[in-house]
């Protein structure tokens, strides 16, 4: 077993060292001293198809055991590093349209449904979702995506829906998921977003 001492190192170094070690060894123990490194090394281990086990030790130290599944080749996975420090802002998903992508509206309407379904099933959900312009049509009764948005809301995702837009399309009374919001909330949320994703 190879031991990698990554204490005192900031991301992406622990992930890079752990990745190099597991590519050359069947089993690697990685020692880190912060939660961001812990989560990122664990995530990389899972992506590489390793068995991942971690233990918190005294003094803010974490030991992560990565074990390659017998005979399994290590897939190529890029080093990814996600900051999870409390200072990072929320993960925000913005839907400015009731479609995904431009070019063909029928296809775009299918893609946004597939996108929201997949987002609702994914383990890492956004903190906030913002809907404006025709995007608000996704949140009203009769929308094909309403069940997925309700699932997201039930999982704790804050759903902000542009009130001006609901009003413009005359569907304010049909809002089925989320809360009626305004430009102040929208600008404030977009401004402090740690990650911003728009389909």
């Amino acid at each position: 077993m190879k031991i990698v001492n990554a204490t005192g190192l900031a991301c992406p170094h622990p992930v890079v060292l752990a990745k190099q070690a597991i590519e050359a060894n069947e089993q690697v123990q990685v020692i880190v001293d912060n939660e961001t490194a812990l989560e990122n090394v664990k995530r990389m281990g899972v992506k590489l198809g390793c068995d991942v086990d971690s233990q918190a030790k005294a003094g803010g130290i974490y030991e992560i055991m990565l074990t390659r599944k017998t005979g399994a080749a290590v897939p190529a996975v890029p080093v990814s590093c996600v900051a999870s420090s409390p200072s990072a802002g929320p993960f925000v998903v913005v839907c400015p349209e009731d479609k995904m992508g431009r070019g063909n509206d029928e296809l775009g309407a299918v893609l946004i449904r597939a996108f929201l379904h997949t987002l609702a099933e994914q383990a890492e959900k956004p903190d906030v979702m913002i809907f404006y312009n025709t995007g608000v049509k996704l949140t009203v009764q009769g929308s094909e995506t309403l069940d997925d948005l309700k699932t997201l809301a039930a999982a704790g995702v804050e759903i902000l829906v542009c009130g001006t837009c609901l009003n413009y399309f005359e569907v304010k009374d049909k809002l089925g998921a989320g809360v009626v919001s305004n430009m102040y909330d929208i600008v404030e949320t977009l401004s402090r977003a740690g990650r911003l994703l728009s389909p």
Binding site: E106, V110, R113, A114, H117, T118, E144
Partner: protein, 77 residues
């Protein structure tokens, strides 16, 4: 977990077939959901129709002769 599927997915040769099937199922008020083809079935960026096992027979009957269905697969999760 007894291994029995919670849902089935119906696969089509093309997106347009899936959309046609969906409009027929909607008109027939048969519960279904349009979803991306699950990763374990195909890595293509495709869409399929998901439905619960109890609706399989009526869905197949309604689509029969109207839309070509590529395959129906159980979803075990």
């Amino acid at each position: 977990m007894n291994g029995s599927p919670s849902h089935y997915v119906m696969l089509f040769k093309a997106v347009s077939y899936a959309l046609k099937a969906e409009s027929i199922l909607k008109a027939g008020v048969l519960p279904h959901k349009l979803i991306p083809v699950p990763r374990q079935i195909s890595s293509d960026c495709g869409i399929c129709l998901r439905f619960e096992p109890q609706h399989r027979a009526s869905i197949e009957a309604l689509l029969s002769g109207k839309v070509a269905v590529e395959d129906i697969r159980p979803l075990i999760c």
